[in-house]
């Protein structure tokens, strides 16, 4: 989408653009308007009120026409503000590009100087410069431009450093181009958007600052007046004739506000993160917009998903991350959910407790029953009271999932105290016990550690301890061992297995690794493109996979001690879930697929203890029930 149409879509920026356009136009045509001379005094007509005869906005303390002075003053203020911005941008960019492009000692020296300048309180430096040069509008302009140069220099340098080491710059150097030419033809075009953003966000400041210096009597000198000095002169009559202050003050406000609106619009239009809507914050619980009936749970499952559908709504696209998933776990059972990245296994897991980031996530169908209670659409407070207390999570990368600024002891204590009214001391004792339960050596001193002071394996043990803090019934482990090395992985798996047997926990274990499933899980469900394609007891599925995708996944696992078997990567990529093909989603990558696979819904059918969504199974199964 083009920059201009993006800008136009931002209504506030458009308002800013229109107001600013109008003010600039007024300033441009001021010499042509039939206005009184702004500098001619007429002391007989001092302090005429606005709308009195012969004058629209009244007159000032010397009887000069305020409207005329306002327009001429606006002209001056705009010119000075923009000039300061352009000077600061050009010089700042030049300094920044030189420092960033040449690097090394040049960079060091320049940036030291810039840091020194930035060590000054901003306006103080401008005052010092004006003090040296003497009061006057031109000197005020120089001062305001000068104090803004470091800001531009630092910004532009950062960008240039990134560009100066790109391949195309190296190529240009090898081709024998001179530095000056490389800067102009290769570096500058990449830096200009940054300069534009920096200018659009600072020109308002610069107008304010020059107005400020004029207000102090250090800028434009009488009789010439910009908006700031108009305000400064009007100050002595503030109480008796406020209109002389209000008129220029409101004008500054309008100009700066319009520029700021426009500047924000420019920045948003040029910032790709805002464009993609990536800067929205997830709410406390996933949005639920459930259409259709609420399915009933099956059997004696402690946690039971039926027909769960979770989608991501991004702009006008819909990503069906989870397209009707059903599974359940009994107490003491471990269910593995396996699939490639993007298959929807994590989203399924997060949907259980409403933890899918929302926006953009929306649960659109199905039910999640915990001990018979439907959690989809349950009130937030109910959901929160179950989170961590009844159903707890273990996440993948504990460096990112533990709070970096709190000690692990405090994080454990918090997990306990949000659900139990116990003293800090009791909670701390419990936390110590938890760390011992997960076999962390020197548990006492570990309580005082921050996450970054621990190894990956230790951190993940803390993550597990935190999940166990409230003796939950169900633990959902979302790739808990993926970030760990193999020996640590084996330790964590055996720890989980022991805990499950000791405490009768139900575990839902999400992974992309069949090796892990084989070690830990009683049953396994294979997910592809947001749906389960095969489910059954782990050993049966491993021994005789029925779905071609399952067979391929198993073939990806190397077997220890047997060097003979070849590894087979699965050709192709999983389909995009906003554009699923009809029929079997795996058909495009499947060597057995026929026309029948590409037409119509293929049901997940039960065959004895197993379930399968395939027309051409790899192995003989019991007849469908």
């Amino acid at each position: 989408m083009s920059f201009l149409s993006l800008l136009a879509r931002n209504r506030l920026a458009l308002v800013g653009l229109i107001v600013m356009g109008f003010v600039v136009l007024l300033a441009l045509v001021t010499p042509l308007l039939p206005l009184a001379d702004p500098d001619v005094t007429n002391t007989g007509n001092r302090f005429l009120k606005p709308f009195s005869e012969g004058t629209l906005l009244g007159t000032d303390h010397l009887g000069r026409d305020l409207l005329s002075r306002l327009l001429w003053g606006t002209r001056l203020s705009l010119a000075v503000g923009f000039a300061a911005a352009v000077i600061a941008a050009v010089l700042g960019a030049a300094v920044g590009i030189v420092a960033g492009y040449y690097g090394g000692r040049v960079d060091n020296l320049i940036m030291r100087g810039v840091d020194m300048l930035m060590a000054f309180p901003y306006i103080l430096l401008a005052l010092a410069i004006v003090a040296a040069l003497g009061p006057g509008l031109l000197n005020a302009l120089i001062a305001v431009a000068a104090v803004n140069i470091p800001f531009f220099a630092r910004n532009i340098r950062g960008i240039t450093v990134g560009i100066a080491h790109k391949e195309f710059v190296d190529a240009a150097k090898l081709a024998g181009m001179r530095d000056a030419r490389i800067i102009v033809s290769e570096v500058l075009p990449n830096v200009i958007p940054v300069i534009v953003i920096a200018m659009s966000t600072t020109v308002g400041w610069m107008i304010l600052e020059t107005a400020g210096l004029s207000f102090l009597g250090l800028g434009s000198q009488p009789p010439q007046a910009d908006l700031g000095s108009m305000l400064g002169e009007a100050r002595s009559a503030l109480i008796t004739n406020p209109h002389t202050s209000v008129v220029p003050g409101v004008m500054i406000l309008i100009i700066v506000m319009a520029i700021n609106l426009l500047g924000d619009g420019v920045r948003d239009a040029l910032d790709p993160r805002l464009r993609s809507g990536a800067l929205t914050r997830p709410m406390a619980a996933t949005t639920v917009r459930r259409k259709g009936p609420v399915p009933v749970p099956e059997g004696e499952n402690v946690l039971d998903l039926r027909g769960l559908e979770t989608q991501f709504h991004v702009k006008d696209r819909i990503y069906r991350a989870v397209g009707g998933v059903s599974w359940g776990v009994k107490p003491g059972e471990c269910l593995g959910i396996i699939g490639e990245s993007g298959s929807g296994k994590s989203v399924t897991a997060l949907s259980v407790m409403g933890l899918v980031a929302s926006p953009p996530g929306v649960i659109t169908g199905g039910a999640v029953h915990y001990k018979g209670e439907d959690l989809v659409g349950a009130p937030y407070e109910r959901l929160r009271s179950l989170r961590g207390r009844e159903v707890a999570y273990i996440f993948q990368d504990p460096l990112a999932t533990l709070h970096p600024l709190y000690k692990v002891g405090d994080q454990l204590v918090e997990a306990i105290r949000v659900h139990h009214h116990v003293s800090d001391k009791e909670a701390r004792a419990k936390a110590l016990g938890l760390l011992k339960d997960v076999r962390i050596p020197n548990a006492e001193s570990r309580l005082e550690n921050y996450p970054h002071e621990m190894s990956g394996g230790m951190r993940q043990r803390v993550g597990i301890a935190m999940a166990l803090a409230n003796d939950p019934e169900v633990i959902i482990a979302d790739e808990p061992t993926t970030a760990l090395d193999v020996t640590v992985q084996a330790q964590i798996l055996s720890l989980l297995d022991t805990l499950r047997r000791e405490k009768g926990l139900a575990i839902v274990f999400i992974t992309h690794d069949f090796g892990v499933v084989a070690q830990l899980c009683d049953r396994v469900a294979v997910m592809y493109a947001g749906r389960i394609v095969e489910e059954g007891p782990t050993q049966m599925v491993l021994d005789a996979p029925a779905h071609p995708y399952t067979r391929r996944l198993i073939a990806c696992v190397p077997e220890l001690g047997e060097g003979k078997r070849e590894l087979h990567a699965i050709p192709g990529l999983p389909p995009a879930v906003n554009d699923l093909p009809p029929g079997c989603a795996f058909a495009p990558r499947c060597d057995k697929a026929t026309e029948a696979c590409r037409q119509g819904e293929i049901a997940l059918e039960a065959h004895g203890p197993r379930k399968l969504r395939c027309l051409f199974p790899e192995t003989e199964l019991e007849a469908a029930q």
Partner: protein, 315 residues
């Protein structure tokens, strides 16, 4: 921690020296010579020459700089000709008033700005967010001196709630209550812009943090949303908010000059403007160096606060 503070103090020395060099260099730009400025344009050449010698202005610039610097280190900032008293005495007298004003504004902008940013982020695109965003836009667009004038007009002249100017009444007691009465309007007027900047930044810092995995962990633990926002997210967001607070401290400290003019506050900013208009160079030099040095020291406090907040910073 002690050694970290010491390290930061030592690293401030070159910055302080740099500041004196910059101020001296700027002042060396002065067209004409200060003696003429002091004595007026009718002074005889002999008198100008004598004063130049007395002020040491006949020596080379580098030598002058080191004389000036070594005098300053010994607490001698020179003598203000317009006030006929030592520069340091005047600056110290005035700086207290500025510190009261700027300090109050700094506390106000930190508390209100961060709170507004947090609420705005927590209710992104909701009514509170839109209202705060609008007020913030207004706040960062209004010149503080104009805002101050309008506050005087409304709250001092029309409503008579607060005194229109000064730090103390001309007659009467000087107690904390009286001071607060005089302080509230100028401190608010000075804080508005900085509050807007802090609120904006806090909002985006919070939005950034709220998308992190550890926030999801906090929610998965069952931490109530209030705790997620104010304990987990804000704590992490403060890491990027605090440097901005440091910048805003410099902004209120130097922006106080406008407010001091509007409210007749007897601070160092007003002193500087008077000194500039009277071409009292030593007073300007001394005032600027003193305030800038205080700001450098304050930034060390900011750095130490940052290191206390973020254990990942090596101290």
């Amino acid at each position: 921690m002690g050694s970290y503070i010491l390290k930061r103090l030592v690293s401030a020395i070159p910055v302080l020296l740099g500041i004196t060099v910059i101020v001296f260099a700027i002042m060396a730009l002065i067209p004409g010579d200060p003696a003429t400025a002091i004595l007026g344009s009718y002074a005889t050449p002999e008198n100008v020459e004598k004063l130049n010698r007395d002020l040491g202005l006949d020596k080379p610039a580098v030598q002058r700089y080191f004389i000036w610097l070594s005098n300053m280190v010994q607490g001698d900032f020179g003598r203000s000709f317009s006030l006929n008293r030592p520069v340091l005495d005047e600056v110290l007298d005035r700086f207290g008033a500025t510190l009261v004003l700027a300090g109050t504004s700094f506390v106000l902008c930190s508390l209100i700005g961060v709170a507004a940013g947090v609420v705005s982020a927590a209710r992104q695109y909701g009514f509170a967010d839109k209202a705060i965003t609008f007020v913030v836009l207004l706040g960062i667009s209004i010149p503080s001196f104009f805002l101050g004038m309008m506050m005087i007009l409304i709250f001092a002249v029309q409503l008579r709630w607060f005194p229109a100017s000064g730090m103390w009444p001309i007659y009467g007691d000087r107690n904390l209550l009286v001071l607060l009465d005089h302080l509230l309007m100028p401190a608010l007027a000075l804080a508005v812009v900085a509050t807007g900047v802090v609120a904006r930044l806090s909002r985006s810092a919070m939005l950034e943090v709220l998308r992190q995995d550890y926030i999801r962990t906090a929610r998965a633990k069952g931490v109530p949303e209030r705790g997620v926002i104010w304990r987990h997210a804000l704590r992490a967001a403060m890491v990027s908010i605090i440097p901005v607070l440091g910048i805003q401290a410099g902004f209120v400290l130097s922006g106080a000059v406008y407010i001091e003019m509007v409210f007749q506050w007897p601070g160092v900013g007003r002193m500087l403007v008077d000194a500039i208009l009277k071409r009292d160079i030593l007073l300007v030099q001394g005032g600027v160096v003193f305030v800038a040095a205080c700001y450098v020291l304050f930034n060390i406090v900011v750095d130490v606060a940052q290191s206390l907040l973020d254990p990942r910073i090596k101290t």
